[in-house]
Symmetry: C3
Subunit: 461 residues, 3 copies
Amino acid sequence: MNKNSSNIMALAPTTSNKRETVCIFGTGDFGRALGHKIIQSGYPVVFGSRSTQTSSLIPKGAEVLSHMEAAQKAAIIIVAIQRQHYNFLTSLAEILRGKVLVDVSNNLKINQYPESNAEYLAQLVPGARVVKAFNTVSAWALQSGTLDASRQVFVCGDDMEAKQMVMDIVRALGLTPLDQGSLLAAQEIENYPLQLFPMWKFPILLSLGLTAFFFFYCLIRDIIYPYVYENQDFSFFIAISIPNRICPIMALILLALVYLPGVLAAIIQLYRGTKYRRFPDWLDKWMLCRKQLGLVALAFASLHVLYTLVIPIRSFVRWRISSLTVSQALSNKTEPLNTTNAWLSDSYLALGILGFFLFVLLGITSLPSVSNNVNWREFRFVQSKLGYLTLIFCTAHTLVYGGNRFLSSSSYRWYLPNAYMLSLIVPCIVLVVKFVLIFPCLDKPLTRIRQGWVRNPQYSE
Amino acid sequence: MNKNSSNIMALAPTTSNKRETVCIFGTGDFGRALGHKIIQSGYPVVFGSRSTQTSSLIPKGAEVLSHMEAAQKAAIIIVAIQRQHYNFLTSLAEILRGKVLVDVSNNLKINQYPESNAEYLAQLVPGARVVKAFNTVSAWALQSGTLDASRQVFVCGDDMEAKQMVMDIVRALGLTPLDQGSLLAAQEIENYPLQLFPMWKFPILLSLGLTAFFFFYCLIRDIIYPYVYENQDFSFFIAISIPNRICPIMALILLALVYLPGVLAAIIQLYRGTKYRRFPDWLDKWMLCRKQLGLVALAFASLHVLYTLVIPIRSFVRWRISSLTVSQALSNKTEPLNTTNAWLSDSYLALGILGFFLFVLLGITSLPSVSNNVNWREFRFVQSKLGYLTLIFCTAHTLVYGGNRFLSSSSYRWYLPNAYMLSLIVPCIVLVVKFVLIFPCLDKPLTRIRQGWVRNPQYSE
Amino acid sequence: MNKNSSNIMALAPTTSNKRETVCIFGTGDFGRALGHKIIQSGYPVVFGSRSTQTSSLIPKGAEVLSHMEAAQKAAIIIVAIQRQHYNFLTSLAEILRGKVLVDVSNNLKINQYPESNAEYLAQLVPGARVVKAFNTVSAWALQSGTLDASRQVFVCGDDMEAKQMVMDIVRALGLTPLDQGSLLAAQEIENYPLQLFPMWKFPILLSLGLTAFFFFYCLIRDIIYPYVYENQDFSFFIAISIPNRICPIMALILLALVYLPGVLAAIIQLYRGTKYRRFPDWLDKWMLCRKQLGLVALAFASLHVLYTLVIPIRSFVRWRISSLTVSQALSNKTEPLNTTNAWLSDSYLALGILGFFLFVLLGITSLPSVSNNVNWREFRFVQSKLGYLTLIFCTAHTLVYGGNRFLSSSSYRWYLPNAYMLSLIVPCIVLVVKFVLIFPCLDKPLTRIRQGWVRNPQYSE
């Protein structure tokens, strides 16, 4: 319903007069914006303010009264005031008894106060029914009507009926209320809008660091080395050739890093003989951002695919192929088909295609709407079985790409191996350890440990 | 749970006998289909009808009684009758007192009546508890079991308990009830199934118009001109070459049109010195369909990518490259590598790849399930920062593609410039204005205006 | 909110002491894991167990008491015991009166018992308010914090207040409760975690079978035949050339199989003159897995696109083109452009691109979050209109690809036609029959039948 509600609202100004008056304390920007939107949705609105002068900024159709008068007119009072000014509400305690107080406030940083603003409000005015709502919506979004991101309004409160009344208003504004339970959830709801991709920080920093390292590595090997020794200017490699070396390397390493913590956890559990002791903190954090690591890896893989597919369009590649052909024609030679080369080239491409295909499948199943439609068994099947298959294909793709160049000394420049060789270290370790863990002598005890069995119950913990 | 419920139902015919009788008024197609499905889910069903003859069409297991008798047997009565026949219900008012009346009706056009059918029903039978539900499900979908689109059933009503009873039936049918609040929401719920992509009309019409214009423009320049002057038949350009000119142009223009209204809004706000006056109507509507514009632009960009990547497979391109090579071989010349060309070609491809990559990222974050998991700050970051970066990359891609051809007179045919030059106008304007707006002397007042500050409070509004 | 809740929990250990004690019966793996998580969320936890010895495995901070003592301490009792041990609860009936009993059990196979475990529990302890919950979450996921798949907790129960209490706990754990209605839904909820892609079995088996058939077909024609008659080793075709023959064939056949049941249903309805008789079982099942068939087809189409786009990078293709060019140069011939070939090549590529583009659109609209935002009319428009357009484009793509090779005898090897010819049979049948069904003389009665009209009412059913 979301996508259309705003324009329907425009087409169908509510014809009914049933809606009850809503009171808003505070005539600041957010209070006015919310008032404006609530009036549009057909509710009468009263503002409660220290100064009852009607400013030109107050939305048309709204009354401005003193806090006391305004509160008397409505069953729902939206408190659009900053937390530090809540104190004056204690003096209104008598009038606010039994009324629904909606806390819409946000803080400036996460966990700024020991208790949430809504709980603080509930302590100040014990007779009122406090509901937390609307804090995830911005004033600007309310006014401009561009509510794409913030249609969801988290609502929580201890009184079911009060919550229902607030959720009805939320729906009338064309937004989607999400019941988050009792007022205890307010802290989390208040922290929510302050975050900026908290789970993405580590994967993105890690990949930026690794990218920088491999960029300079390739710069030295592929541009500076030929310039110094062969006096050739390949600076234009910076645009495509070098990114197309870095991307697959990053994709492979990050993908392996998605599966490394699982392998480490298995080793730790086998060593300890129990699953009931906590993992070290770094491992816990690592496990929590595996999805994000995987998605960053998928981004690099996609870029690698695009960079690879444009290869035949590049003017440099066209020039190289055409001059090769011309020189063959001039020297009157026709080379026979090298079947080994054809096999190597085709199979590394095929492995890459299959690996990328499975990788995209993994990415699609990690979309929230898809993973919500999948039960735990199915999710495990996809993320674990298909995940390892992806890692195997991608590692094999890189190995076959290397082909018979691994041991040739010409691929070492200034003693630096080809960058893709470095990228094989982590995935090979993960695959080898995982392979070892599959052996029954290790798999059986591990399965039992994960089902709750403990090797030495008396020692554990 | 959705995906499997229908087959589970088949496997597990409800063994319990707890379910209460449901009465359906009306034996039309929808009433029968709904009755059939409700019986399958284990509820006893009674039909209320003018003629109590059991037709062969009535689902097996259902009784057909007079309206009065049927209503007495059940606590829930589904009114599967058209609105114009609701009148007779007034005569049953006594029996319907306290019962749950479910309005399932739809209209033929949006806002056909001043009040919604459900509200009209509530006025006719004031003693009954009216719930709106099931209107978004089609009879055909109920019968064929293909409910992919319409698993969601919007439910609204003033009585919580009545709503819960209806939502239980909805869930028993394998559908997902969505509580839309009080009966006031009925109007919107009744309008919902009548829409056909209302927000997409403008973007699609606009892009059809522009596509037609650029198609004829390119037809004249690239097919008719060479045919007239050089007598060459390039008619096959219609299949790939010309679409591959139109698609990037459309993508770039539409992407720029996504960001143009934001820039215009900023200028208007700066000029007026307040954010509290409404934007002109066309600007409001434009802002509301920016997401759709962006997605159409992404569709064109994706087609452009596909068209570009098949270039080396085209038989025309293969012929051209091979004849170039043959003529080089015959004339015994080998051209040296042109580093400038290599730079230009590689960097325009790289810019295009990065631009497309960011564009796809933007598209993914606009998926409802992804944007619901993102707060307002994160959404703004992605859509604004990443959006402008995309626009910059795509504009740069087009500029570098032009390279040194911009001023060469040979690129003008019949005084018509190359089509891609036209496509650069809008994005360049947007980027230049946006760049100007970033200067502190404009950015500061704009930020303050958006936080609610007003330059001349007495004049505004 | 989902994505961040776990780390917020870590940052903000609940400071409030309001949460009420939760009792857990059973100290098995799941009971302990759940207890651990509940304690982390700030609830006091008491375990009820036969032996009240505090094992080292019991989460820190939890008490272990006898069942009776533990039950007295809490209003909510989570029964983390297997169904076969429920019997002893009858002896506690007096203490459990009015308490909320949460059934978290799962079975080993679908529909193992005649009634669900939760309903069985409700029969054993009639005085308690039984709620089903938590069965979709795994102990391992609770402990490792990796809850990506299983954030959703299905909750059902006959008592609204009891359900609310349980849903509050669910939310406090950072999970998303989904109200599934009354306890009747427990059977379905208990079956849910036992499934492994039930709707995907048929499409995947079918495509595996067809893939194997076409693989051997192509193996014979493309590798064994040239080896026998021309003694050429094309074994490397197995990596890319043959998959790239199989994938488009599979995509086209499976896509046609998506639309075949709809066409068959129309014929059956026209023949019977009514829509009120059930389709044969196989047709019903087929219709239910159309979405999955379509998605498998899309997977094959995507692979086909990738395989096609890497063609110019393959070393075999480069060798073939270069030797062709060299031989042309040596024989001093330059071929003129063959416009017919250019037309054929360009238009089959263009048809393929458009077909794939529409196919991806169809795939995107089948994402749950997208199809939920679309009403029935819109969904039908996309899936039916756009779907047939996709089928037309893809069939035309294959027909034009064949071009003038259809009747040439050289394309038959060992009397076997080219594989792509076989793939055209089903889609052509579907398109022809659909085309016939569009004629008014058939379309009109069909529309009336689907609106509920019956040709011979007395005979039907």
